[in-house]
Symmetry: C2
Subunit: 715 residues, 2 copies
């Protein structure tokens, strides 16, 4: 690791400071290392902190206000005088435990302004970091005599847009991100809003008709791409963005707790970073690492136990309606410690039974998968969501038909490790009370990773998935898991904000509409073309791709139910385009058995990367990514398209020169179409070098996947 | 233990059933074993459950409605049809681990009615138990096909009074019971209400001008005494009583959670018992054991480690302003993990320092006290209440000037055991997260008991001290403590409801205005004459008597500050009249050293009893109790009076016949007066037998204490 810290307060390279000490006006400009981005900070005549951001001399964020309002102390939105500005530069290259690339450069110039409200002697600081690819700022409250506790009424950070950009957005919601993305002009958000609401979700609290979630990607009429998000969301509530359509200005909208309080902070403290990524091409949004860079370095000393993996699971059976998590239909509701599962009638549909688990283990083992998730193994599923029930699960008691010891022994004998499943039903107290026991149970039984879930309204009742209380809970579970050397993949938790840099045992989150919706209400063809530019900006998503049974056929499925809106090879491509250090092969063994030739790609594809190249990118339209595996010479390429068929054309000039590779290309068949013929695919092999160029046709909502292996390795 | 269960459904002794199966009307009467109390249950013509209670043929509770209202299912207040009534009798004598007597008889006749709402097939049952000294009822929801979860909007249990009784009451409040009692007619509650509010309390949420707390004692114009309370308040919110002044009817008022929900229950379940004690004399209210009897038997298998004790403490120093819990005045606020206590200036007033602890240990050891509470030993007190702060204490880190190991070793060498102190500041999540570590720390360091505290607004924010969430928390801490063989004395927790029968490691609660208020706003002379008839009905109170420095003199005390409103001997009497298995000698060693002759009573008095006799009793006026120690032959008598001087006259006919005893009488001096001459006391010894009669003068707010020891034992 190379670390250079230049804490030169007088540093002028890239930093221009115009400081006037009239206490009325202060102007400071800090520019990015390459000089393209310039952040200007000012105090308005009434002492309001304001900023603007320019790219190559043109504004990308117009003059925007900064500050917070409180219920217990004076608002910090105006009345400030300027105290001082410190500037510095930082340049470091660090090594993530896992990621899209093996080394990440963290290079920025910073401006750190100190402001004071003379009336009450409150001090607020604002820290700006300007990178070549974007900017982050946060509020800093140093220890001070006259200010300690702040109850936040609202954060008033603004992002004033320069025009009526195209936005790729989902509605602001305190409890869910499981929405379809809408692509429209900022000015059209309000009229599209109602149609997008997903009120069938187990827990949804939409905010307002112009409130959207981050990470929000936009495209200007000049073809510039912007992304607004946050980084290091720790002990603070999650931010949404509310648009003022007249001024095209977004204002931060935090998530309230059960009392309506937006946050509770105590000096000394910092808020999360508010980030703006700026790029002349969409690929630049994907290549930006500012979200990770604005997080603290890894706090886990020994990370040797944290390893990316691919996994299969007893899961899609239940999602698709073939099986159930529940063991019996006898009871209208069940109670831990009361319900006697040995006295009830098994429903015959319980998927997590010993025999079925062994069947999955056999298949996983045969095909080189070393991890298997089993959901529904533990009691409580008869009655687990929708009633604000507190003690839903105990996380340690298997159903009678699931012989845990037998399954574990069988898995071990087949070199398969089980992944624990902890659905919490959003009941944070129940989970925290049982957490040590549950994690110790995992350690005792050889589990090293857990998928956790937060379906339904949160408990404490009245609290929200994205409020400070719950954010604090998710991180508590992650840090405690680290004590037990357990990796966490938390579903329905708050959206990631790069915290995995600090706690790399947080190997996954859902926090968006995943593959499961293909079986619920359906996912539109552009969905996976939008997620990388939005949800994935904060961290990996456990999207669980790999559905081969695109018609979702089982005896319990009603005619006309949604089915997967992709071609089969688009499912393969997702293993490359949807970055995650854990990747599920989500379909059933019997469905993979029908297409073992295509399944080969899922077996081969890596999950940890030395480098990633964004070859073609346009949000909601197309995306082609090439990635080189970490610790090896293989490359994998995935390309996908949305509603429109297209040709993907790119050069392989990133391959090592002079080396011959065998490329295996999994592509849409000539008559493939996601609606009429999704299972039409072709697999071709060819020799390629760094001089090769490829031209691959993609069907409507189609895709392709390529594995590229040096010939020398193919022995 | 003698147990007789008569589960005779057709039992007619004491039970008369008039059952009509028209589904429109059902009348059932169950009478007490001695025939004095009769409970009649009916369904009104519109299917509303109603009851009334008579004593010796006269109504004491007029026809009153029963039922609950919900937000998610149909109200259960009417529309019921009668399904069946089961009757039975029960007679058992059980042995409490500690208590006012060594054996308790649990003898009642019961009526168990099953009701159904035909419209929705919901079944509700009501269970009545009628004892000789009172009655309890609760709602029972059996497992049933059409009803599982119930969100309670309000419980509608009524208690219709027969006249404008005298009430001994404190205002209904969701967060505190630390009020002065008011004695007035029911019809006058409203006009007295405002004056009683204690809004200086760190956390107070008064309910309404006619809402009062239980246990509520009343006196009828015929001289009958009534007490309304609840028993076995488990996983439910705490009940208050709201008076309709026109009908003189109380209706239950539950405590809402952060969403306003009054309770959340899932069938099968039971509510707490609602109790009415009825007695022709005030002593009968004190002698009633129905609150304990309506709780479940002890759930702790091995109770050998649960032992009553007397203790001293580093506590009154801080209460009286002489010392501080905090170690430094340097910081406006502190943060766990941030504040460095080794870098700050000690304030010089921190009481829990090593030297002072040793001084207390010396004194306690010299005078035979084997337990010492030390508050303020752990970091965080600079900034612990009033700001809804979450992570206030860690419960394991001593201040720099408190050498825990040294103090522990010194205590051990002097046969003194330290009592742990866990102030939580109402931050339940912080406490639960650290509970295992904190309890294990206690075990590792030889602590066997903890005083916990819940000062300030509760966290989760918006929740209340007495709501279901918090009640669940308190019991969680008690049951978890049992796993570590730890006894709990929880201050500011919910009022006790006899749960100590089931979990006898709950050795104390505060839940009322304790001795500390003598140093705050003052306690009126009748306060300790009211508590035994109200607060103590549910269980022992850690009142912390024994203040000898009645003028509360220290250099930091401002002139005109409140002082103790009793004579010195009244302080002694409280060790007998305020029952508790743990009793503190609350004053400072130097104050006891000035009155070692009087201190002798505190040294001698027992804390666990074979029997208790209520010799003279009138709420808010006078009280004389004689108690015989468990496992010995000594008797201790305490007598107290309120504002009026009086003579206490009683016979010692409860002493063993033919045995000579030496009585040591600690009484008010001839010129004693709580206002003008509180320190005037006399100590006399005399020989007494079962034929002796005593006549002792009590000064205004005075008292006396007597120890009676068989001469044979005095060698």
């Amino acid at each position: 690791m190379k670390t250079v810290r230049l804490s030169l307060r007088t540093l002028l390279i890239g930093v221009i400071g115009f400081l006037t000490y009239t206490n009325l006006f202060a102007s400071n400009v800090v520019v990015s290392p390459n000089g393209n981005l310039a952040l200007e900070f000012n105090l308005s005549s009434d002492g309001m902190p304001i900023y603007n951001l320019s790219f190559k001399g043109s504004e990308v964020v117009k003059t925007s206000k900064l500050g917070l309002r409180f219920t217990n102390v004076d608002d910090m939105t105006s009345g400030f005088t300027f105290v001082k500005a410190d500037t510095s530069s930082f340049d470091e290259t660090w090594t993530p435990v896992w990621g899209e690339e093996s080394e990440i450069r963290n290079h920025y110039n910073s401006l750190f302004v100190t402001l004071k409200q003379p009336a009450n002697e409150h001090i607020m600081q604002i820290e700006f970091r300007v990178f070549d690819d974007g900017m982050g700022f946060r509020y800093v409250f140093p220890e001070q005599p006259k200010l300690d506790y702040m109850y936040i009424k609202e954060e008033c950070s603004e992002f004033a847009m320069t025009g009526d950009h195209i936005a790729y957005w989902i509605p602001g919601d305190y409890d869910t991100q499981e929405y379809e993305y809408t692509v429209c002009l900022l000015s059209k958000i309000r009229e599209k809003y109602e149609a997008v609401l997903e009120l069938d979700n187990a827990s949804t609290t939409p905010i307002s008709p112009t409130c959207v979630q981050t990470a929000l990607t936009m495209k200007t009429s000049e073809g510039l791409y912007l992304n607004i998000h946050e980084a290091a969301l720790i002990d603070y509530s999650c931010m949404h963005l509310t648009l003022d359509e007249k001024t095209l200005t977004f204002t931060s909208t935090l998530t309230p707790d059960g009392t309506g309080m937006m946050g509770y902070i105590q000096a000394p403290c910092v808020t999360p970073w508010r980030t703006v990524i700026v790029s002349e091409n969409a690929a630049g949004i994907l290549a930006s690492r500012i979200t990770l860079n604005l997080n603290e370095p890894c706090k886990i000393e020994d990370t040797s136990w944290i390893k990316p993996f691919k996994y299969m699971g007893i899961w899609w059976e239940m999602i698709s309606g073939k099986g159930t998590w529940a063991y019996t239909n006898d009871y209208p509701s069940v109670k831990l410690g009361y319900t006697d599962y040995n006295k009830c009638t098994p429903n015959g549909t319980h998927s997590a039974n010993t025999a079925n688990a062994k069947r999955y283990i056999d298949f996983a083992s045969e095909h080189g998968f070393h991890h298997l998730l089993i959901e529904g193994w533990n009691i409580g599923w008869e009655d687990w969501v929708g009633d604000w029930k507190e003690d839903v699960f105990d996380f340690v008691t298997p159903y009678p038909d699931f012989d845990l010891e037998e399954v574990l022994a069988y898995a071990k004998a087949h070199d398969v490790e089980l992944i624990m499943h902890h659905e919490t039903s959003g009941s944070t107290r129940n989970y925290e009370r049982r957490l040590d026991t549950a994690y110790q149970f995992m350690v005792d039984h050889g589990y090293h990773s857990v998928k956790s879930g937060y379906v339904g309204p949160m408990i404490p009742r009245g609290f929200h998935h994205y409020d400070q209380w719950c954010n604090n809970h998710y991180l508590y579970c992650v840090t405690k898991a680290a004590d037990y050397k357990i990796c966490v993949n938390a579903h329905e938790a708050t959206r990631p904000t790069g915290i995995c840099r600090t706690y790399p045992n947080l190997v996954g989150n859902e926090s968006a509409r995943g593959t499961e919706y293909e079986a619920f209400q359906g996912n539109s063809p552009h969905h996976t073309l939008t997620l990388p530019f939005t949800r994935l900006i904060g961290g990996p998503m456990d999207y669980t791709p790999g559905i081969f049974d695109l018609y979702i056929q089982n005896e319990n499925r009603k005619p006309g139910s949604p089915r997967v809106s992709t071609t089969l090879t688009k499912q393969l491509a997702l293993y490359v385009t949807m970055y995650s250090p854990i990747q599920m092969a989500a379909d059933l063994p019997e469905n993979y058995a029908k297409h073992l030739d295509a399944f080969q790609f899922i077996k081969d594809v890596a999950v940890d990367w030395q480098k990633s190249l964004y070859l073609e990118a346009e949000p909601a339209e197309y995306l082609t990514i090439a990635r080189k595996e970490k610790g090896g010479e293989r490359w994998f390429i995935g390309g996908i398209t949305a509603e429109n068929a297209r040709h993907s054309r790119f050069a392989l000039d990133f391959l090592d020169k002079g080396v011959k590779y065998e490329a295996t290309i999994y592509r849409d068949g000539d008559k493939a179409d996601y609606e009429t013929n999704p299972l039409d695919y072709k697999i071709e092999k060819k020799i390629v070098t760094s001089k090769s160029k490829l031209d691959i046709a993609l069907a409507r909502s189609g895709g392709f996947a390529i594995s590229i292996v040096p010939i020398a390795d193919k022995k």
